[in-house]
Symmetry: C2
DNA sequence: AAGTGGTCTAGACCACCGC
DNA sequence: CGGTGGTCTAGACCACTTC
C-alpha cells in the first residue's frame, strides 16, 4: 500500500493531479516528459499514464502530437463547460446573491404540453410555481416551473429555496437536462415584472431536467434579463 | 487480415460503428451484451471493446452502470452537446441551405481589443471580414470576423466559403473556442441588414477560436436573428 | 455467489516526427 | 534512425449490483 495518497480515488486520477502540479512550473508549449519516462517516475504502467494525460487533454491543459510529444497548452482557454445548475448555484458562481419571490404556487392538472414533456398522463396533478428570481436584490429572471409527483409532498416544498437541493434531500438526484435557448422581446407584463423597458431583449430558456434513469423531474421556462445575464462557455470541435 | 473493412481506421472505431448499427434495433434502456460477450463477438480484447463503448458514451448513445451493465440512452435525452461548428456546418445540421454575402473585406491593423483577444501586438495586420449569412436565401446572421496572420495569404481566402474548411486545407485544425452569448436588441442598421424590425431580439455570439496548441486563429462577433435561431443542447450536472 | 463494469499491468507492434 | 504518441493484447484484481 502506497504511503502517500491512500484516498479512494483511482491511480490515474492521482497521477493526473500530480501532473497538473508539475505543469504549473512549465511555460506554454513546453514539452512534458515522454510517457515512458513518466511510467518510471510514477511507477505505473503506460496505460495509467495515458489515462492521466487524457484527463488533462480533455481539460485543455495539454495537447499531444503523434511522433513529437505532449505539450502544455497556452493557458488562455480555461475550460468552462456549461453545467446544469440551479438558479441559486448559478448566481453564486457569478458572485451574486440570489433571492426569490414567489408570485404564485398551485397544484393543478397538467396541460397537454406540460404532460407531454414530463411524460405524464394529461390531467395528472403537478405543482406549478411562478417565481421572480433576484440577484443582489434586483430582478434577474422570471421563472415558471412544473414539478411532477415524485414522492415529495407538495406542501413540504419550500418555494424560496433551491429545487434541486430539496430533491436531493429526498434522494432524487438530477443528472442532466435538455434545454432550448431563445432570444425574445419582453412583453409589457414581463417587462414590468423584470423592471425592464417593454421590448427589451431577453433569453428564454426552456428546460426539462431528468434524473439518471431518464425520468423527468422538472419542466421550467425562464426569462433572463438580457442586460444582466449571458452564457460564457468553451466548446470543442470534436465530441469530448 | 480481416476480410471486411480494411480501411485505415482504428479497430475500436470500426467496432463502435458496428455497435451503433446493432443498437438501432434496441429500445431505450435495453441493455447491450456484456463487454466480455462483445469480446467474443468481435474477436478483440476487452480494452478495444471498452474504447468503442467509450466513444458511444461520449456521443450520449449509451450509458454504463457499474455492476449492472451498458444501456441504450433514451433518445429524447441523447446528447446534443454544443459543438464548435462553422456557420456552414451549423445550417446544414439544421436542414437549411447556407449562403453568404460579403459586405466588406479588408486587411487592417488590429485595434487594441482585437489584438488583445488574438494575442497579437497592437497594429499587427489582420483580415477583417464582414459577412451577411443567409439560410435558405433569407438573412440569418450578421458576422464580423478577424483572422490573424497564420500562414495563409490574405488574397487566397475565399470569403464565401467556410473559414474552418480553408484553414484545415492549410493544416490548421480548429480545436475549440471560448464564446459568450448575449441577448441584445438590434439597432436600426443591424435590423435593416437582417430584414428585421428595429429593436428585435437577437443573439450576439462573441467567439475566439483556437487550434489545439491554444493559439487563437479567429475572433468573430455574430448577430443571429432571434426569430430564426436558437440553441438546443443537453447539459449534465457533473463535470467529466 | 455470480456477473457486471472499473482499473491496472506488462508486454507488443504500428505510424509518425525529427535528426 | 531513435524517440514519440496511437493502438492492441491477454491476462488480473477490485467495486459494485443483482439474485
Amino acid at each position: 500500500m502506497p504511503s502517500s495518497s491512500t484516498d479512494g480515488r483511482s491511480k490515474y486520477l492521482r497521477v493526473a493531479d500530480e501532473l497538473i502540479e508539475s505543469i504549473k512550473t512549465l511555460d506554454p508549449h513546453d514539452s512534458l516528459p515522454s510517457e515512458r519516462d513518466l511510467m518510471q517516475t510514477f511507477g505505473v504502467s503506460r496505460m495509467t499514464i495515458r489515462r492521466a494525460i487524457e484527463q488533462l487533454g480533455r481539460q485543455g491543459i495539454v495537447y499531444q502530437v503523434q511522433g513529437s510529444g505532449t505539450f502544455v497548452t497556452d493557458p488562455e482557454v480555461v475550460t468552462k463547460t456549461l453545467r446544469l445548475t440551479s438558479f441559486t448555484e448559478d448566481m453564486e458562481r457569478r458572485g451574486l446573491t440570489p433571492s426569490s419571490s414567489t408570485l404564485s404556487s398551485s397544484v393543478e392538472p397538467a396541460s397537454g404540453e406540460v404532460a407531454r414533456r414530463l411524460h405524464l398522463e394529461p390531467g395528472t396533478e403537478v405543482l406549478r410555481l411562478e417565481r421572480l428570481r433576484l440577484a443582489d436584490g434586483e430582478p434577474m429572471a422570471l421563472e415558471t416551473c412544473y414539478v411532477p409527483p415524485i414522492g415529495i409532498g407538495w406542501t413540504e416544498f419550500e418555494p424560496a429555496g433551491s429545487l434541486y437541493a430539496q430533491m436531493k434531500a429526498h434522494g432524487i438526484n438530477v443528472d442532466r437536462a435538455a434545454q432550448t435557448i431563445e432570444a425574445v422581446n419582453l412583453d409589457r407584463d414581463q417587462a414590468h415584472r423584470l423592471d425592464q423597458p417593454v421590448g427589451a431583449a431577453a433569453f428564454r430558456v426552456t428546460r426539462v431536467s431528468y434524473r439518471e434513469t431518464g425520468v423527468p423531474v422538472e419542466l421550467a421556462a425562464t426569462l433572463y434579463r438580457g442586460d444582466r445575464y449571458d452564457f460564457d462557455l468553451v466548446i470543442s470541435r470534436e465530441a469530448p
